[in-house]
Symmetry: C2
Subunit: 126 residues, 2 copies
């Protein structure tokens, strides 16, 4: 068993093309020997966003703090604390901070996601 | 994509032997077609607890609200908002609310957990 506060885990910059102002904490993953899926916590700065992309694996997301939107293709869904987002495999999606404080959320992925290629949509600015 | 607030999902009583005062919301799971793992949100009433048990699959847990402990066998680890718990497969564990308000946490499991047998430890009261 491993127990720790999420803030004990170092924030790392998200270096993916199309990401702006994004940082990530790997809370539970291969380092812990998690056999099936990984728990990450993202912090998106005011005005920042994740890549607008799709990939062959799903996301399971829980919003902790902040305000934002998640794009389902070109459709915006507002986000607030307590919102749950299921992004299906191959769905084009992007998380954007539209508030005045960091947008913080959990985003879990299957281990099959690690090392897989992603497809960045052409309209995805940095 | 599915977006909804966790409180839009109905709380259901946890009927497992050894559980007391536990309710669960299935936030993302097989109903959504999630192919690999399921996101559930638990609420444990004041004085309540989950079963003390082990099983062949892992838990990935994020504490949202409340105070409690998680038992790793007979060792207690305190819990508060923001704590992250990784329970390895086959580890004996129990979550207990030791505070004065509901203990709320996310607990994710691989789809392989669904329908698998669990082993309730003899010392687990109801």
């Amino acid at each position: 068993m491993q127990v720790r506060h999420f803030q004990q885990v170092a924030l790392q910059p998200v270096q993916m093309p199309g990401a702006s102002g994004c940082q990530v904490r790997w809370l539970i993953g291969t380092a812990e020997g998690a056999p099936n899926f990984a728990m990450r916590q993202f912090e998106v700065a005011v005005g920042g966003h994740t890549p607008k992309h799709s990939h062959p694996y799903e996301h399971e997301v829980f919003v902790l703090e902040g305000r934002g939107v998640v794009l389902e293709g070109d459709v915006e869904h507002p986000l607030r604390s307590g919102d749950v987002v299921y992004v299906r495999p191959e769905e084009l999606h992007q998380f954007r901070n539209t508030g005045d404080a960091p947008l913080k959320f959990l985003c879990l992925v299957p281990n099959s996601a690690l090392g897989k290629q992603v497809t960045v949509a052409p309209e995805c600015g940095s």
